[in-house]
Symmetry: C2
Subunit: 477 residues, 2 copies
C-alpha cells in the first residue's frame, strides 16, 4: 500500500489527512473550516457516543437539549469566558428576513445558556445535584483547521452539573475525568494521563480544568477530553441560587466536561500504521470482515454458503461484514480492509471448509504472526477472544510507544532534546513566566500536572527555583 499512502515516518501529518480521506472517515466541505463526517467515520462516532453515554447514565446523568443560539449579552456576563471565546464566535445578525435587535452567537459551548436555565430550575437544595449532559454541535471559528482535530463546527457532548458544595462539585469533576480515562483505555485502547491544566491552558471561566492527555504516534500530545471545576463563577454570573436547609440563599457550585469528534482523530493517530487505520475492536464499525476465497467457479457456492453461515453465527454478538463482491480479487479486498482498519479478518476457502476451520488474521500483527486457524466448532468463543487480544495488543503497543517517547529530564538541555520527540516529565515552579518562556523557546506546552505525582521537591526545569509538582511537557495538536 506504500505507493498510495504516505509513510508515517516521512510525513505524519500528511499520512493522517490521507488516511482520513481514503478510509472514508470524513471529507472536506465547501464551507470554510467545516467537514463532512462520512458514514464510516460517523459510525465510529456513534460507537464512541454510545459507550460514553452509557457511562454518563450509569453515573446518574440524563440528557437534555438547549438552544443553538445564545444572546451575545449572556456570554458577556462572565468576563473570562467572553474574553476566551470572543475571537472564535460565529454571529447570526439576521433572522426571518430582518436584522435582529440583539445578535445571536452560535454556541461555542453552553455554560451561559444552561446557567440561565439552571437559575430558573434550581430553587432548593432538594433540586441538587442537577446532572445533565447534552449531545450537540458547537462552532468555534478556527483559522487553521484539520479534519476531526480542529474544525469550525464539531460534534461533542457537554455535561453541566450543579451542586450544593465545593467538594461535591470537585468530586464530580474528577469522577468524570475517571469516566473519560476509563473510556479511553477500555474502549479506544488509548493510554491517557489524567491531570490538571495550568492556568494558561484552562477553560475560559473555570477555576480548574482537568484533561486526559494522549500521545499520538508522532510523539505529539492530543488533549482528548476535559473536565472543568467552575467554582461559583457561572453561579454568580447567572444568579444560580438555592435555599439551603436553613432557608438561606446560597450559590451553587458547577462543573462542565466534554469529549468531541476529536476523539476520532485520537483513535486514528494512536493506532494507525503505514497500511492504514487500526481500529480498536470495541469501537470499530466493523469488527470482523469475512472474505470468501475461491478459484474455480464450482467452488463459489460452497464457499459463499460457508461464509454466510459463519456470518450468521457471529452477527448476534459482533459487528460482522461479509465481503461477497465478485468483481474484486481477494488480495484487493485484503488491502482494502486493512486500510480501513477492521480488527479481524476471516478468510474461508475450499481447503478451510474441508478442514472444518477458518483462517483469522489480526490487523495489528503483520504477516504470519497474526494469523491463526480457528475450528468451526469453536467460532463463537475464539473470535471474540481474538478481538480481545487485538484490543490488548494495540493498547500495549500504544503504552510502549508512549513510554519509549517519554523522558524524565534533569536539565533544560535534555528537555529541549525530548519535546520534539515526545513528552518530558519535569519539575515546574508553577510560574506562568517559565511556562511561557518554555513555549516560546521549544513550542512545548504543559500538557498537564498529572494527578499521579511522585511527591517531594525538585528544581524548576527552567528557572531552577524550588518546585513541588512534576509537569508533562510536549508539543500538542
Amino acid at each position: 500500500m506504500s505507493d498510495f499512502l504516505t509513510a508515517q515516518k516521512k510525513d505524519f501529518s500528511k499520512w493522517y489527512t490521507e488516511i482520513v480521506l481514503k478510509a472514508d472517515l470524513a471529507d472536506y466541505s465547501p464551507v470554510r473550516g467545516c467537514m463532512v463526517i462520512k458514514p464510516y467515520g460517523y459510525t465510529l462516532w456513534e460507537r464512541i457516543r454510545d459507550e460514553l453515554d452509557r457511562r454518563f447514565k450509569e453515573t446518574g446523568h440524563v440528557n437534555a437539549y438547549f438552544p443553538l443560539f445564545i444572546p451575545m449579552s449572556f456570554l458577556e456576563k462572565e468576563k473570562e469566558h467572553v474574553e476566551g471565546f470572543a475571537p472564535e464566535l460565529a454571529i447570526v445578525t439576521h433572522g426571518g428576513g430582518k436584522k435582529l435587535e440583539e445578535p445571536l452567537v452560535v454556541r461555542p459551548t453552553s455554560e451561559t445558556i444552561i446557567g440561565h436555565m439552571y437559575a430558573k430550575w434550581i430553587q432548593s437544595y432538594r433540586d441538587l445535584p442537577l446532572l445533565i449532559n447534552q449531545w450537540a454541535n458547537v462552532v468555534r471559528w478556527e483559522m487553521r483547521t484539520k479534519l476531526f482535530l480542529r474544525t469550525t463546527e464539531f460534534l461533542w457532548q457537554e455535561g453541566h452539573t450543579a451542586h450544593v458544595t465545593h467538594d461535591e462539585a470537585l468530586e464530580e469533576t474528577l469522577r468524570m475525568l475517571d469516566v473519560y480515562t476509563d473510556f479511553a483505555v477500555n474502549e479506544a485502547a488509548i493510554p491517557v494521563i489524567p491531570g490538571l491544566k495550568s492556568e494558561s491552558e484552562k477553560f475560559a471561566g473555570a477555576v480548574n480544568s482537568y484533561t486526559i492527555e494522549a500521545m499520538m504516534k508522532d510523539g505529539k500530545a492530543l488533549q482528548s477530553g476535559t473536565t472543568h471545576f467552575l467554582g461559583q463563577n457561572f453561579a454568580k454570573a447567572f444568579n444560580i441560587q438555592y435555599l439551603d436547609e436553613h432557608n438561606e440563599l446560597q450559590y451553587v457550585w458547577t462543573t462542565s466536561w466534554g469529549v468531541s469528534t476529536r476523539m476520532v482523530g485520537a483513535v486514528v493517530m494512536s493506532h494507525g500504521d503505514d497500511q492504514g487505520l487500526v481500529l480498536p475492536p470495541r469501537l470499530a464499525p466493523i469488527q470482523v470482515v469475512i472474505v470468501p476465497i475461491w478459484r474455480q467457479d464450482e467452488e463459489r457456492e460452497l464457499v459463499l454458503q460457508a461464509a454466510r453461515a459463519v456470518k450468521e453465527r457471529l452477527q448476534g454478538q459482533l459487528r460482522v461484514h461479509l465481503d461477497a463482491r465478485e468483481e474484486l480479487t481477494a488480495g484487493w479486498k485484503f488491502n482494502d480492509w486493512e486500510m480501513r482498519g477492521v480488527p479481524l479478518r476471516i478468510d474461508i476457502g475450499p481447503r478451510d471448509i474441508a478442514k472444518h476451520q477458518v483462517m483469522a488474521a489480526r490487523r495489528d500483527m503483520p504477516g504470519r504472526q497474526g494469523k491463526s486457524f480457528v475450528s468451526l466448532d469453536n467460532l463463537e468463543i475464539a473470535i471474540p477472544k481474538l478481538l480481545e487480544q487485538v484490543h490488548q495488543g494495540i493498547y500495549e503497543k500504544a503504552v510502549a510507544y508512549r513510554d519509549s517517547h517519554t523522558w524524565e529530564v534533569e536539565n533544560y538541555n535534555e528537555f529541549r532534546g525530548a519535546v520534539p520527540r515526545g513528552f518530558a516529565h519535569a519539575w515546574w515552579c508553577g510560574d506562568a513566566k517559565c511556562e511561557a518562556a518554555i513555549k516560546e523557546e521549544t513550542k512545548a506546552t504543559i500538557r498537564c500536572l498529572p494527578l499521579d505525582q511522585p511527591g517531594g521537591e525538585g528544581h524548576c526545569i527552567y528557572c531552577g527555583e524550588p518546585a513541588h509538582k512534576i509537569a508533562i511537557f510536549g508539543r500538542a495538536y
Copy 2:
C-alpha cells in the same frame, strides 16, 4: 388534578402548553422561538430516535453528518427551494471577528449541501443507490411558535438518497413513508393516514411530497412525517451525475424524508387527557413506576424490600422506576405519575406482600377498571402483557376518536360543519383554486390525498366538476 390543569374541552391549546411544561417535557428559552428540551422530554425523543434509527438501518441506510452552515449561493441554485425557505432563514454574517465574504445560512434542511457532496461522491452506477440519513438540528425562523410543534430550532432526522432510476427513487419515497407509518402505529400508538400532498402543500423543490397525517384530540390534523420524491430537480441544480453501464452520463434521482421533535407533540396530543400525559409504553421513558405503600413505620423496611425485589426482577426487560421518596404521600405520587403519563403503576403494600401479589394500575383506564392484582409468581410475564394491552388500548382509542370525528361529506354545507370538528373526506377536482377558496372560507387545508383511494369518480366538493380523487380536509397545526 383538574384544579391545576386546564380541561382539554375548555381550551385544548392551553391544556397542551400546560402539560408540556408541568410534565417537564420542555421549557421556554430566552432565545426567541427556541425551546429547551428537558430530560424527561429528551428521553422520550431518544426513544423515538432509537426506534426510527433501527428501522432506517434495517432498510439499508447509514448515518453521516453534514455542515450546519450552507453558503447562501447553494440555496439559490434550486429556484423553488430558495423561494420556499428564504423567509425563514437565519443568517451568519460574521465569523472569527470578521465580516464574511459570503453570508452563511444556518441549515433549514440539507438538500443543497448534501447535493453538493453527492455530486463529488457519485461517479458510477456502482455508487448507487446512496442511502444516507442525518440526525441534526435545523433552524427555520418562525413567527408564531409552540413548544415541539413549531420552534425556530428543532431536532430531526433527514434522509437523503440518490438512485439510478425514477422508479427506484419513487419506491424509496414510498418505502420510507411505510417506515414512518409503521413507527407511528407500532411505537407511538398513533393511527396515521399516509397520502400525497397537494401541489400547494408540498416541499419546496420536490416533485411530490408524501405525508403521514394524524388527528389530535381536538380534531385538528398534525403532519407527523414527510417523504419527498425530488425527481432530478436537485440532481440538475447540483450536477449529480453518474456513468451508467453504457458509459453515458446520467442525472441521479433523489429523495428526502424527515421526522422531527414535533413527534413528541403528536404523542402528547394523541393520547393525553385531563389528568395529564398518557405515554405509549414502547416510547415511555419510564414504563413502570413502583410505589411502595406503608402506614406504620415498622412496615417500611418490609415494603421497601419487596418493592426493590420487584424492580430488580423487571428492570432487565423494562424501564422501571421505584419511587421511594419518603417526604411524599402515596396519593401525591399517584397523581404525579399519572400526570407524567407512566403507562403502568405498581403499588405494593403489606397486605399485597402477605398475599404474594402486587396491584397494577393502567394509566389509560381510570379507576377500578384499569386495576388488577398480579401474582408475584407471574410478574415477568404479566407486566409486559399489561403494557402491550395499554399500547393496544390507547391505539384503539385514538382510532375510535379519529373515526368518530371523520365525515364522508356529500356537500359543502356538510363540509363546513365537519372541518371545525375533524376531518372531511371529500372529492376534489385537483384545481388549486378550489383548494385555495376552501382554505379561505373554512381554514381547512388538504391534509393529503390518501394512498388508499376508493376509486371511481365523484364531484368536487367546491366546484362540482368531475373529480377522481378523495382528499382529506382538516384544520392543521
